[in-house]
Symmetry: C2
């Protein structure tokens, strides 16, 4: 649990002692989830420490996701257990994609249309629908066939797509001042749909890896979604998870 001086011989700093005590109290229900921690000044008094030290202790709890602090309001208990024991971290979403970055896009079709069910978009709404092939640079080997559905308020991207090579979500981020805050991804293995079989040159009854990605903004609104069909012999999805924090967090 705590990691006070168990490893190193020297005593743990006070902020860590205090943070561990508070952590234990949260686990024990002394401070219930949803309720508020004592204020900084109360904690200063109880532990006879300066405000700075108190804040350092609270910072740790906050970083561990156990409490949420809000100016003027206080520190609310969020959870009994730290979140994010393991993280898969990446510089950019590029690493989500199951292909190397040195690729290019060939657009097959762009028009308004109704999304397919796999995209997780209500199929009664109209979205900009893009068909594209992702190819290895300088080669004609297709890496995947992609259907991209874009909210019509970003319909202006249509003009920008010509010769665009990167990920489409980035195009929308830079041109419409929105920010992708969250991505959901589902990987499954399915029978190749007819259109994908055609452009990927697959047997009609072949299996393909289908990767569906949904890009959401900070409020959970869907900005765009993509359905990507990968021939199985070129599909490899790698990730690396790391345990969070050496000492505590």
């Amino acid at each position: 649990m705590s990691d006070n001086d168990t490893a190193t011989g020297r005593p743990a700093p006070q902020y860590m002692v205090v943070s561990d005590v508070l952590r234990q109290r949260i686990r024990d229900g002394v401070y219930q989830v949803g309720s508020h921690l004592p204020t900084e000044s109360e904690l200063c008094e109880e532990f006879s420490i300066s405000r700075h030290t108190t804040r350092e202790a609270l910072r740790r709890l906050s970083e561990a996701g156990l409490i949420h602090r809000r100016q003027g309001s206080g520190s609310r208990v969020l959870s009994t257990e730290p979140r994010n024991h393991y993280v898969h971290a990446m510089k950019s979403l590029d690493q989500l994609f199951a292909y190397a970055s040195d690729t290019r896009l060939r657009f097959l079709d762009i028009r308004q249309g109704h999304p397919d069910a796999a995209a997780g978009i209500p199929t009664d709404a109209k979205w900009l629908r893009i068909e594209a092939l992702r190819l290895e640079r300088d080669e004609d080997v297709p890496i995947c066939f992609s259907l991209v559905y874009i909210d019509l308020r970003f319909g202006g991207v249509k003009k920008l797509l010509k010769n665009y090579q990167g990920a489409i979500y980035q195009l929308i981020e830079t041109n419409f001042g929105v920010e992708v805050a969250e991505v959901e991804q589902v990987i499954e293995v399915v029978r190749v749909p007819p259109r994908a079989a055609e452009v990927l040159d697959q047997d009609p009854d072949a299996w393909v890896a289908r990767v569906v990605r949904r890009y959401l903004d900070g409020e959970g609104t869907l900005l765009l979604a993509s359905v990507n069909y990968h021939p199985v012999d070129h599909f490899s999805y790698q990730m690396r998870m790391t345990r969070q924090g050496g000492r505590l967090v």
Copy 2:
């Protein structure tokens, strides 16, 4: 890049201004990757701020993975770009697995043997080799066929496996005082190997999703590895990535 007061109308705090300046200098190569930042006291003087404010600025760079700070040594520049823009976070590794948690294991075979190539273990070494089927609870439908390779120094788990239901890495963590610090995972779609076809009741030429997981300790030593074959019609792998930090980080 910076997020000083662009959104809110009010001015950014000093530590954020300073941290942005330093960040820009790192990008511009004023402070080269591998070299050291000025010391805290030098930065205090340059920006006419207190040490506390300087440390807050440096803390941000450290959290962003741009610098590494070491007592007695200084702040070394690690990278020009922040890491961890996006994270896939999970409380435990259970969420790595492409199946619900309400499952059970049926062991088919346990003995010493040579790992297969897919596990990424030198095949000349001997490891404890476990064959198991993961089944839905109360049903005989197999979710996946697993080959688990365990370093022989944990050979004692053999006795503990009987009636064990959970993830094997946890068994080793609790019984041998080691900690999984890192997991590598690769998902691919391959032809079913004969043995897997047999126990999963698949056609000899069927495709299966192969998920290879390698569990490493803090020093990068492989503790165990597993190769899991999932019938494609039951395979679904979901993940959710979140952009890190509202304001900067």
